[in-house]
């Protein structure tokens, strides 16, 4: 049983709705910009994709928004969009709807602020209202409280592929009967202290480093549900999750492993689960994020899988919004919108259309997924 996607949500410097995000992505826009001198400080990194000027109003009134950290605000807006697009009535059966979000930096703002006061003043002075938001699961939990979801509630922190990892958890939850619908996606917030840490350990591209990532922030979610339920609601799904593949490589948690066998294993696993061949893929969402040896390894594997012929058209989401766990969520949203968009770059006779999403992270973590259009 393959779940379908009936709703999408995006809160991103590239767009405050999933439609705007998708439209501007396809138009080739990018939200990556240079750091201002004040932002940059002592970083060697030069660029970032922050969501400048983001305010959660009007959807979240100011008094309420004060209780939520930035990641939670992104998550609430993105998940609300997905539920609305799907026309899903949570109140009918709240136990049947859950959430699984991936993240790398959720809680960073609350954590760094709480510790700043604890260290510079005293443990007694550290603000208690921040503490519950210092954990990675705050966004998913705030969403569950706001949308009154009683189903499964998990947060996955396995670096950049966490969004696809969350989709896998969600698909298992649906197929095992724990839920009939799951919000799945990923959220991240940019944080100056974390940026300093990533910069000092050599993860960021910049003035002194040609290979590395540019950080971004945002929230992205899709609603996955049983196809039968969507049909019963007379809702036409945007896409179907056809298959997911994963591979692990033993290695240091923070080192990138440009392991071609593992990349091939993840992609082939997704294709096999989707009962598809490489030639059935019409659109490719690369994991490529500026870590040169990883990008080259991915391109080499894709070339080999496509028999040395032309590579499928690709949409480089991370070139538009930077790299983070949330980027995987963004790729999923973009793939699903593209599959349902008659104007997207697919061959006219593709039936079904198929998209491959790759999401690879440091520490030997590899995920791939195949999404297909729904007749």
């Amino acid at each position: 049983m393959n779940p379908v996607i009936t709703g999408t949500g995006a809160v991103s410097p590239l767009g405050r709705t999933s439609n705007e995000f998708y439209r501007r992505l396809l138009a080739g826009e990018s939200s990556i910009r240079p750091f201002t001198p004040e932002e940059r400080g002592s970083l060697q990194a030069t660029h970032v994709a922050r969501y400048d000027g983001f305010i959660p109003q009007p959807e979240i009134p100011a008094m309420k928004a004060r209780r939520f950290d930035r990641g939670s605000q992104f998550a609430i807006l993105a998940c609300s969009q997905a539920i609305a697009e799907a026309g899903y009535d949570v109140a009918k059966s709240p136990e049947s709807v859950g959430i699984a979000l991936g993240t790398g930096s959720a809680g960073a703002g609350a954590l760094t602020e709480f510790l700043r006061v604890l260290i510079l003043e005293s443990p007694e002075a550290a603000p208690p209202f921040h503490f519950p938001n210092t954990v990675a699961n705050a966004p998913a939990s705030q969403v569950s409280i706001e949308l009154k979801l009683f189903g499964p509630n998990v947060t996955i922190t396995q670096k950049d592929p966490s969004g696809l990892n969350a989709v896998l958890f969600s698909a298992l939850a649906i197929s095992s009967g724990r839920a009939r619908a799951m919000l799945a996606g990923a959220v991240d917030e940019w944080n100056a202290v974390y940026a300093m840490g990533f910069d000092q350990v050599g993860a960021l591209r910049g003035a002194r480093r040609a290979s590395g990532i540019i950080q971004g922030e945002g929230g992205f979610a899709v609603l996955l549900e049983c196809e039968a339920d969507a049909r019963a609601r007379n809702v036409r799904p945007l896409a179907r999750l056809a298959g997911i593949g994963t591979a692990g490589v033993p290695g240091e948690p923070y080192r990138f492993a440009p392991d071609r066998r593992a990349i091939a294993r993840a992609i082939r696993g997704a294709l096999a689960a989707a009962s598809a061949e490489p030639r059935d893929i019409h659109l490719w969402f690369p994991s490529a994020n500026g870590v040169i040896e990883m990008d080259e390894a991915e391109a080499a594997v894709i070339r080999e899988l496509f028999g040395g012929g032309a590579l499928p058209p690709s949409i480089a989401v991370k070139a538009a919004i930077g790299e983070m766990a949330a980027a995987g969520g963004a790729q999923i949203v973009a793939a699903c919108r593209a599959l349902a968009d008659p104007g997207a770059p697919f061959p006219r006779d593709a039936a079904p259309r198929r998209a491959l999403v790759n999401s690879f992270g440091a520490g030997g973590n590899f995920f791939s997924a195949v999404f297909e259009s729904v007749a």
Binding site: L115, A126, S176, N365
Partner: protein, 404 residues
């Protein structure tokens, strides 16, 4: 409903404040030994409380000096527990298909203790060695377990506060039941840190004295640290390789309370939903449950809400079964609590003895079940529950039983 592919448990490893092997830990639990003592890992004099269930000697002699320098305390504890679990399971990735063996752990403070020291230097305008923040993310231990044992299957880390390890075990179960893996190393490792110690203190949730779960005079939790690792395998896979099966992971329930970020639903309705979901997934009914390893944090709110939840889901059966909180002995091990408590729960099934809730003196009318006060008890346990009710309404209940 239960899965066609059954999941059995073949290895256990534990590093705790009252024992750094499973047998030492279990023996001390049955003897009612308390691991909550003055904190020595960092200077706690400026905090509201100064005690914790701290691990004294991590058995990490098998790691090289270079390994130990590179890794965090949480990594060392997690690897030590994983080593014990692997040895017991007799699993060898070099003689199996390593792509079918995964690692799914609960994520805790990880290298936060080191990151905090780096941050302090930055705040005072000083430089720090960048390598000290490399272990900051909670999935470091997951990658390290895969690295140490040569595992190439599915990897994931779940970070849902105090239900992290319980959810990790649940994901491991779903991955095996869903044929994504034949074996998964699961559980979690969490260590003391200023953030969590200060955080719970800032909420006034910590008892300055060793905690007293379910007692009328309870004042809050004691914070602890632990690593608990379990090896899960698909049943046929375990039998084919002649593994000795310790017990079965029958299923789990994972739900959102959708109530409040820090307070549990006092009516017990939310917790009751989680327990019912777990029983339904395991194909068990309340009459079959012989023991509950409670979340039992000793906060005024949790213990009464949990009691109400047990009554809501188990009905009159709740009064007939022993319910104990080992947090009275090892404190609240936060993101590892689900794992270390699942290990204790499995030991009750194997041994036919249930550990006590110690420091219990004054019955509370709002908590009127049998909490096994102060003394362990003999009792055959065929099916047992272990509860984890976390901040954010992340509630999980796992069901562990005799393998039949």
């Amino acid at each position: 409903m239960p899965s066609a592919r059954r999941v059995v448990i073949t290895g256990l490893g534990a590093v705790t404040s009252i024992g750094t092997t499973v047998s030492e830990f279990w023996r001390n639990l049955l003897d009612g030994v308390c691991g909550i003592r003055p904190l020595s890992l960092f200077d706690a004099s400026a905090y509201r409380t100064q005690t914790a269930a701290e691990v004294r000697d991590i058995p990490d002699g098998f790691l090289s000096a270079a390994d130990k320098r590179r890794m965090s305390r949480a990594d060392r504890m997690g690897l030590a527990a994983a080593r014990e679990a692997f040895a017991q399971a007799g699993l060898d990735a070099s003689r199996a298909d390593p792509t079918r063996i995964g690692v799914i752990l609960g994520g805790g403070t990880s290298g936060l203790l080191d990151s905090e020291e780096v941050y302090e230097k930055w705040l005072h305008g000083r430089r720090a060695r960048p390598s000290r923040v490399l272990n900051h993310l909670p999935d470091a231990i997951t990658d390290r377990v895969a690295q140490r044992f040569g595992l190439e299957g599915i990897k994931s880390t779940i970070t849902t506060a105090c239900s992290s390890a319980a959810n990790a075990m649940g994901y491991a179960y779903d991955a095996i039941a869903g044929n994504l893996a034949d074996a998964v190393v699961t559980g979690g490792s969490d260590v003391l840190a200023r953030l969590t110690y200060g955080g719970f203190n800032s909420l006034r949730s910590v008892d300055p004295d060793p905690c007293r779960p379910f007692d009328r005079e309870r004042r809050g939790l004691s914070i602890g640290e632990a690593a608990g690792i379990l090896v899960f395998e698909e049943e046929e896979y375990a039998r084919r390789r002649g593994a000795h099966v310790l017990g079965e992971f029958l299923g789990y329930g994972v739900t959102s309370d959708a109530f409040h970020m820090t307070a549990p639903d006092p009516s017990g309705a939310a917790g009751g939903r989680t327990i019912r979901a777990a029983l339904e997934n395991a194909g068990a009914d309340p009459g079959e449950v012989d023991y509950v390893n409670a979340h039992g944090t000793a906060t005024p709110q949790n213990d009464s809400a949990e009691t109400a939840a047990l009554k809501s889901a188990l009905g009159e059966r709740a009064r007939e079964i022993p319910v104990s909180s080992i947090k009275s002995m090892i404190g609240h091990c936060l993101c590892a609590s689900g794992a270390i408590e699942a290990i204790a729960t499995l030991m009750t099934v194997r041994d036919g003895r249930v550990p006590p809730t110690i420091h219990y003196e004054n019955p509370d009318p709002a908590c009127d079940l049998d909490y096994v006060p102060n003394e362990a008890r003999e009792r055959p346990v065929r099916v047992a529950l272990s509860n984890s009710f976390a901040f954010g309404g992340n509630s999980s209940v796992v069901v562990i039983g005799r393998y039949e």
